[in-house]
Amino acid sequence: MPSREQEQRRLASIEDRRGVALDLVKLEEALFAWRNSLAGLLPDLRARGFDLPDPLPADQFLAAHLDPMPDPQLLRRAAEGLHQALERFPAPQSAVLWWRRSADEEARERALAAWFSASWRNDREGLARMAADAGIDTDVFAWCGRELCRPFFHRLGETLAASLRGTLPARPTCPSCGGAPRLARLERDERQRHLWCRLCGIEWPYRRLSCPFCGNAEHEKLGYLAIEGTDSQRVDVCEVCRSYIRTVDERGLPEGGRVDFLAEDVATVHLCMAAEKRGYRPGGPGASGDVLTTPAPGGADSRVPARRGNS
């Protein structure tokens, strides 16, 4: 994983790239700075005895058996920090502190915890109910909840990356949260494909000719949209489930260039638009960094027999 400083530099460096929406860069920068400010406060899962199987079986992910609920003070601080980070963005900013409307302190704490828990589990029905009660657009409410969880998922991803000595086995979904991948990269030399989870910030290997969303491995029904004028970007598509995933090919980058997923995610939104204009859609029920509450495609049981503990 790149260091936080590297990520921040790369995020700032994409502002001049063609087609980049500055609003999106500013949003990610603000979220990045907010996550950074929390980094020292997040619990060390390994110090708490979180036991990871190594190698991690391909049909398991970590979040399923982990009680994620952070300390109430930390959660409150995270939510208030997120509110400040979204200063330039009134629509989500006004949604973040909805739980403060409760009359007493205890009710506020309960509401915030319920929001965090539903967001962590990606309980769409629960989130929709809460959003309706709060009078907030469901998508904005769910997005804010997911962002609130993101530093904690990042910590889970960091723990996973640091704990496993071996390479992660090839799998279609995030080994940390079980969500669908957001981006992919092709290695410059070995040409292995790696998928990336926006929520946890980690990557893992997956087969080149296989759809990570529906498992289709029939190459006649797989293809990609080559982008004229660049060798480093393409959009892989599946004709069975009609989903797409953006891919960065390291061979098209300058010598020694490495993919920074966070920056590429922001810089290649136009590829999503191009793919969706051609009738493809973002893949998987857990796309865009969502968490799956059901086992991943191809995985019978996604639960890890790990010790329960607070994150």
């Binding site: 087609g19 929406a21 293809g223 136009h270």
Partner: protein, 189 residues
């Protein structure tokens, strides 16, 4: 930047799952929408296959666009080569695209120093004629001890790694039917 009407903006961003959410968050996506509008894409496919050279049988991924080969590379998921290729395998792209690739049958007559272009029909007929002539001249129904053998020691066959399983089966079947006993394969390495 391309000037984009509101109708044009909605035509792109309105269909976009992520764009819809980002718009709800109040983000101005106009630069990305304009870039997407002007973007030219071409549909390409990737197919797995096996290297036609030696008997190792390395896995390949061949990319094609409009039925033209645009890239050949090692298949990182293939258990034998795990993405790597020898220098000969790495140059496979040229087999499909090189302008030095033979596109016609060439024939050099006995004692001639020149190659001449001939038709497939002529070449196949020549091969059939010469196989039959040689077979008829060398065919043995019985060996020295009077045992039925129905074979010819005058011909030999050599298969190549470019042949797949089914082709090898048919090739072997044809050669045995002709009575060949010297049937060998290059992939025996």
């Amino acid at each position: 930047m391309t000037k984009l009407s509101r109708r044009g903006f909605l035509a792109v961003s309105g269909t976009m799952a992520a764009g819809g959410l980002l718009a709800k968050l109040g983000l101005d996506l106009a630069p990305s929408v304009a870039h997407a509008e002007a973007l030219k894409t071409r549909y390409a496919k990737e197919s797995t296959t096996i290297c036609p050279y030696c008997g190792v049988g390395c896995g390949l991924i061949v990319s094609t666009m409009n039925r033209n080969v645009i890239n050949v590379e090692g298949d990182p998921d293939h258990p034998i080569n795990q993405g790597s290729l020898c220098c000969k395998g790495q140059s496979l792209y040229q087999v499909a695209t090189s302008d030095r690739r033979l596109k016609h049958v060439l024939y050099r007559a006995p004692r001639s120093t020149e190659w001449e272009e001939v038709s497939w029909e002529w070449a196949i007929e020549q091969i059939a004629d010469r196989v039959k002539t040689t077979r008829d001249a060398t065919f043995m129904e019985k060996d020295e001890q009077g045992r039925t053998v129905n074979r010819t020691p005058g011909l030999a066959a050599l298969g190549g790694a470019a042949l797949d399983n089914e082709e090898c089966y048919l090739y072997s079947k044809l050669m045995r039917a002709l009575g060949l006993v010297y049937v060998e394969h290059q992939a025996r390495i």
